[in-house]
C-alpha cells in the first residue's frame, strides 16, 4: 500500500507545513513516510507544491508526485493556474479536494474527470472562525489525514503540535490549530482509495533529435521574456491607484521591481495586472498615499 498526496498552495499559505503535519501524523501511526516541497526562485503568493508519500512498505519513489492518489488544493484560484496544474495525473478513483468558500461543487471538473472524486470544504472559513487568521496548514493536513483514513485524530493532534512548535508558534496559537484540525477531521469522511496506476505514454527522444537542433542558451535571445510568466497570479493584494490623489511624482514607477507600471501621457501610472506580482512596494512608497489595496485571493 502506498498513498501519494500532492498539496497545491501559494507560497506562504502553508503547503509545506501541511505536507509535514500529514507526514508526521502518519509516521506517528508507525507508517513509512517521505515528504518534500518543491520551490524554485519564487516568493509569497506564487504557486508551490508539496508531497507526502505514505506506505506500509518501503517508499521506493522520490521527487515530484506525478500520479497522486489525493490532491489537496488549498486555494481554488489555482485550479486553472497553468503553472500549478493541480489536476494533472490524478489516479483513477483518486480524490481531488478543494478548499473553497464559494459553495461550488466543481461540476465542471467532475464532468471532465468522472473517474475521480471531488470533495470540498471551507477550510478558510473554519480557520477564520477558530484561529482568527486564514492559516490553513493544519486544516489542510487534517482534511488529507481524514480522507486517506490511515491516521487517528490522536496522531494528527500530536503532529500538529510538534510541527507548529518547530515553527515557533506560541501555545495559544497551537491549541487553536489543534481545535481547527479536530473540527475539520470530524467534518469529513474517509474515502476508499483503491486507485489505478497512472501511465504516461511517452517514448524517449532519440539523441539525434537533440543533436539536430541548436539547443544552447544562445537560442534564448529575447530580453524581457519574463513577461510571459504571468506573475499577476501571485498577488494576494492588488494595488489600486486613486488618480485624483496621484500627483504624477513617478516614485512608484521608479520603485516597481517588475516594471509592471507604465506612465500615461500625464505621467500618472498604469498597472499591468498580468505582471504586477503584488509586492506592494508602490503602495508603501507613494508619498501622498494615492495607492490603496484590494484583497484578491479569497482563500488566502
Amino acid at each position: 500500500m502506498m498513498i501519494r498526496v500532492r498539496f497545491h498552495g501559494r507560497g506562504g499559505q502553508g503547503a509545506k507545513t501541511a505536507s509535514r503535519i500529514l507526514g508526521t501524523a502518519a509516521f506517528n501511526e508507525g507508517l513509512n513516510v517521505q515528504d518534500s516541497p518543491v520551490y524554485g526562485a519564487e516568493r509569497r503568493g506564487a504557486p508551490v507544491a508539496a508531497f507526502t508519500r505514505i506506505s506500509d512498505g518501503e517508499v521506493l519513489e522520490r521527487g515530484y508526485v506525478f500520479d497522486p492518489d489525493v490532491v489537496m488544493v488549498m486555494d481554488s484560484t489555482l485550479l486553472d493556474n497553468p503553472t500549478a496544474r493541480p489536476l494533472d495525473g490524478i489516479r483513477r478513483r483518486g480524490v481531488l479536494f478543494v478548499n473553497s468558500q464559494t459553495g461550488s461543487s466543481f461540476h465542471g471538473i467532475q464532468t471532465a474527470r468522472p473517474d475521480i472524486r471531488v470533495a470540498t470544504f471551507d477550510l478558510t472559513g473554519e480557520a477564520l472562525s477558530l484561529v482568527g487568521k486564514a492559516v490553513i496548514s493544519s486544516a489542510t493536513a487534517a482534511a488529507a489525514a481524514r480522507i486517506i483514513g490511515l491516521v487517528t485524530d490522536g496522531s494528527l493532534e500530536k503532529a500538529i503540535r510538534s510541527e507548529l512548535e518547530e515553527l515557533g508558534l506560541n501555545d495559544e496559537l497551537i491549541e487553536k490549530n489543534v481545535t481547527l484540525g479536530r473540527k475539520v477531521f470530524a467534518s469529513l469522511e474517509p474515502v476508499e482509495l483503491s486507485t489505478d496506476e497512472y501511465f504516461v505514454r511517452s517514448g524517449l527522444v532519440p539523441f539525434e533529435l537533440i543533436m539536430g537542433e541548436r539547443t544552447g542558451t544562445e537560442e534564448i535571445t529575447s530580453a524581457g521574456n519574463s513577461n510571459a510568466v504571468k506573475t499577476g497570479s501571485w498577488r494576494i493584494f492588488k494595488p489600486i491607484i486613486d488618480y485624483n490623489k496621484c500627483t504624477a511624482c513617478m516614485v512608484c514607477f521608479a520603485y516597481c521591481p517588475e516594471s509592471a507600471l507604465t506612465l500615461r501621457g500625464d505621467y500618472k501610472p498604469v498597472i499591468d495586472e498580468d505582471n504586477c506580482k503584488g509586492c506592494l512596494i508602490c503602495y508603501r512608497e507613494c508619498p501622498p498615499k494615492a495607492i490603496t489595496l484590494e484583497k484578491e485571493v479569497r482563500e488566502f
Binding site: Q34, L60, I210, T221
Partner: protein, 428 residues
C-alpha cells in the same frame, strides 16, 4: 568530545530540547547537521549557497543556543572557507563544512591543498547542477569535479546514509593510515529538502566510535611544524602524490573495518557498494545517490514481471571499489551504467571507471551500456529506466560495435522544453 551535552534530543525553534524516540523524520540537510553535531566538531567555517544553506543555519542555531559547542564562522567565500577548514584541521580541530555546486568549484583549488596537507576535514556537498544555464536541482558534475582532488568520496542515497556516512567519513579520514579529507555527497531537493525516517544514534555511543581527533603533528605556537612543504622537484612531488594515492587505497580496508564496528554499535553496516536484487540478476544497472531509490523501484517491478533485473549502487567513489564492482558485475549478461553527469565530448564520467573494473575479468559482461540522465535534477522516470532495461535485454546492436549511449529524456519532456524555449525566444 562535548562533555555534559545531552546524549539525545533535538532542537526546536522554541529553544527546548525535544525528546527523541530514536527515530524521527528529518531532511537530508538536517541529517547532515546532526552528523556534524554528533561528531562533536570543533570548528565550522561556513558560506551559504542553495540548497546547502539549511545545514549551516541549523548548526548556527545550535551553537547560539549552546546545544553544540563548536565554533561557527561565516567566511567571505568558499575559497576562504576551505582554506580556514584545512588550516584549522592541521591545528588538530575536527572540522566540518558544507557547500554546493558553484561554491565547491570556487573552492576547488583548496581541495587539492587540503588533501596535500593530509588534513582530514569533512565536507558535505549538496549536489546541484552547474551553471550555465543556472539551475537549483541536482546532478553530479559538481562533486565529480572534485573526483581527483584526493578527498575520499561517499555518496548518499537516503537521509539516514547522510548521517551515517558523515560519522564513518570522519572515522576513516582521521585514521592514521589514511589522513585524507572526505566529501559526503547528497542530492539537492531529493534529499536535502526531503524528510524521511532517520535513526539518530546516541551521542555517547558515537563518542566511543569516534573518539576525539588525535592529529600526528598538530600546529602549535610552542612547537612549530611544517605541512604541505614546497618541494620544487618532481622526485619529491611524485613521492608525496604516490603516498597520497596509497593512503586513499588503504581507506577501503579502513572503511570496511569501521563499518563493521558501526554496524555492531548502531545496527547499520555499509559496504562500498550495495546490491539490490543482485543475486541471479542477468541485467544490472549501476547507479549512485538518491535516484538509486527510483532504480530499485523499477528493478522490483521488473522482478514481478519475471525479468532478472538487479541494481548495483556505488556508495564509495574514492577510493574506487574496483573489486566490489568487478565481483558484482562479472558474469552478468548486460550492464547499464547510469551517469547523472555529463562530460561534454565524452559522455558519462563513471562509465569508464566501471569498464576499467571489468576489463580483465574473464567473464565480463559483453554489453555495458552507457546511460546519461537526470541532469539538473530532471526527474528520472520509471519509463526511462524501463527502456534502459529493454535495451539491455535486446543486447548490443552489432557486436563488436561500441554501444550507442542513451541520453534520457521523454518526448513529452522534450516538447515542453522546446515550448518554453520558443516562448523565451520571443516565438511561442
Amino acid at each position: 568530545m562535548l562533555q555534559g551535552m545531552p546524549s539525545q534530543g533535538y532542537y526546536t525553534r522554541k529553544g527546548g530540547e525535544g525528546v527523541l524516540s530514536g527515530s524521527t523524520l528529518m531532511t537530508g540537510n538536517l541529517a547532515a547537521a546532526w552528523g556534524a553535531r554528533l561528531a562533536g566538531v570543533d570548528y565550522v567555517p561556513a558560506y551559504p549557497i542553495t540548497p546547502q544553506t539549511e545545514i549551516i543555519e541549523t548548526i548556527a542555531k545550535w551553537v547560539r543556543l549552546g546545544q553544540m559547542k563548536g565554533k561557527l564562522v561565516q567566511m567571505d567565500s568558499e575559497h576562504s572557507m576551505l582554506t580556514a577548514a584545512g588550516s584549522a584541521s592541521l591545528s588538530g580541530a575536527r572540522v566540518f563544512t558544507a557547500t554546493s555546486s558553484q561554491g565547491l568549484l570556487y573552492g576547488l583549488e583548496m581541495l587539492y591543498n587540503i588533501s596535500g596537507w593530509r588534513a582530514p576535514i569533512l565536507l558535505v556537498n549538496v549536489s546541484r547542477g552547474l551553471a550555465a544555464p543556472i539551475t537549483l536541482e541536482p546532478d553530479h558534475n559538481d562533486v565529480l569535479a572534485a573526483r581527483d582532488s584526493g578527498f575520499l568520496q561517499f555518496h548518499a542515497e537516503t537521509c539516514q546514509e547522510v548521517l551515517d556516512l558523515i560519522l564513518l567519513g570522519y572515522r576513516v579520514a582521521e585514521d592514521r593510515s589514511v589522513l585524507l579529507p572526505a566529501i559526503v555527497n547528497l542530492d539537492g531537493f531529493y534529499l536535502s529538502f526531503t524528510r524521511e525516517k532517520v535513526e539518530l544514534p546516541k551521542m555517547d555511543t558515537v563518542s566511543t566510535f569516534l573518539p576525539e581527533y588525535d592529529p600526528p603533528a598538530p600546529l602549535r605556537a610552542t612547537k612549530p611544524v611544517s605541512h604541505g612543504a614546497t618541494v620544487l622537484s618532481g622526485n619529491l612531488y611524485s613521492y608525496f602524490r604516490y603516498r597520497m594515492h596509497a593512503a586513499s587505497l588503504e581507506a577501503s580496508e579502513v572503511f570496511r573495518k569501521a563499518s563493521a564496528e558501526y554496524g555492531g554499535l548502531f545496527g547499520r553496516e555499509y559496504e562500498a557498494t550495495e546490491g539490490y536484487m543482485l543475486q541471479d540478476a542477468e541485467y544490472v544497472i549501476v547507479m549512485s545517490n538518491s535516484f538509486t531509490t527510483i532504480g530499485k523501484q523499477v528493478v522490483a517491478k521488473l522482478r514481478e514481471r519475471g525479468v532478472a533485473a538487479g541494481l548495483l549502487k556505488l556508495r564509495m567513489l574514492r577510493p574506487f571499489p574496483f573489486d566490489d564492482v568487478a565481483k558484482s558485475l562479472a558474469g552478468r549478461r548486460a550492464v547499464a551504467v547510469f551517469d547523472q553527469n555529463l562530460s561534454p565530448g565524452f559522455g558519462g564520467i563513471l562509465y569508464p571507471e566501471i569498464l576499467a573494473s571489468l576489463y580483465h575479468k574473464k567473464n565480463r559482461p559483453q554489453f555495458v551500456l552507457p546511460v546519461v540522465g537526470g541532469l539538473g535534477g530532471k526527474q528520472l522516470t520509471v519509463q526511462e529506466l524501463e527502456r534502459v532495461f529493454e535495451s539491455l535485454r535486446n543486447g548490443p546492436p552489432t557486436f563488436p560495435d561500441r554501444p550507442d549511449p542513451m541520453y534520457l529524456m521523454r518526448e513529452d519532456e522534450f516538447d515542453r522544453a522546446k515550448r518554453n524555449i520558443a516562448i523565451a525566444s520571443g516565438g511561442g
